[in-house]
Amino acid sequence: MTKKIKPDLQDLKELGQFYLLNGKFSEAIEKFKLALKLKPDDADIYFQLGLAYEGACYINEAKEMFRKTLELDNTMKEAVEHLDRLAGK
């Protein structure tokens, strides 16, 4: 019997980032969402999910993710920068 191995949190984050850096934003969104299910309080996943949404032009969703990032970690300057960048859109 073949055993299906579920990707762990680290795998999902790495896969998400791989897709993000290759401009495959929809795939990245999918992986980061799965990662968040395993660790719902991870500011970094929220941030990268925000980037993937921004990349795919889902501006409202991106803003929401950057806001969540800051709720969890208010020192993430990059999230503030991206929120500012998206403010006019």
Partner: protein, 229 residues
Amino acid sequence: MAKKFAVIGLGRFGSAVARALVEKGFEVMVVDIDENEVSGLSELATQSLVLDATDEKGLKDAGVADVETAIVSVGQKIDVSILVTLILKELGVKEVVVKAVNSLHGTILKRIGADRVIFPEREMALRLAESFVSPKIFDYIELSPTHSVIEIAAPKTFFGKTLKELTLRESQKVNVIAIKKKIPIITEKGVPDFKEEVNIAPGADDEIAEGDILVLLGRYENLEKIGRM
């Protein structure tokens, strides 16, 4: 020598225009009947005058005739804007741009010689409305009552296709003026980010990718169709 402008009426619109012109390095003369409005800009402007703009002699003495372009923005005072426009044209100002509050006002201004009539509120409202109709439309410029330029997120059905394959010009009568691409990068701090690359006048073999923003020119109804895709 820098082009000379006069901005008459320093409400929110007039003062914003004056500031923008100063920032661009032009010589700007500002005129308003209200001393407080003028004093807010007196340090920036080349010349600032507290003056009733319907006072022809006052405007003449101030040297308004020497400016290339005068922008008239006297708020809701239709009679004043008409008078000022007439005076400016009489004085020989080459280009008179006037802010109108409604269509009738606009028509009158054109008849009496305004070179350009603008409806900032209407233009802003249209742009705002567009952004609500489709959250994927990022910008909208009306070129004429029939043609516009829009900035729009590429629809899913465009991904992976070249402009030649999409045949937008033939099938939709829409021209792709530019493609804005987000190139993912890793910053010096090791954080992912994007760099924007703009491909102006893209070629037939250029391919659309997910996340691309297209700058399109075409008839309003054709652009709207793409916006709904």
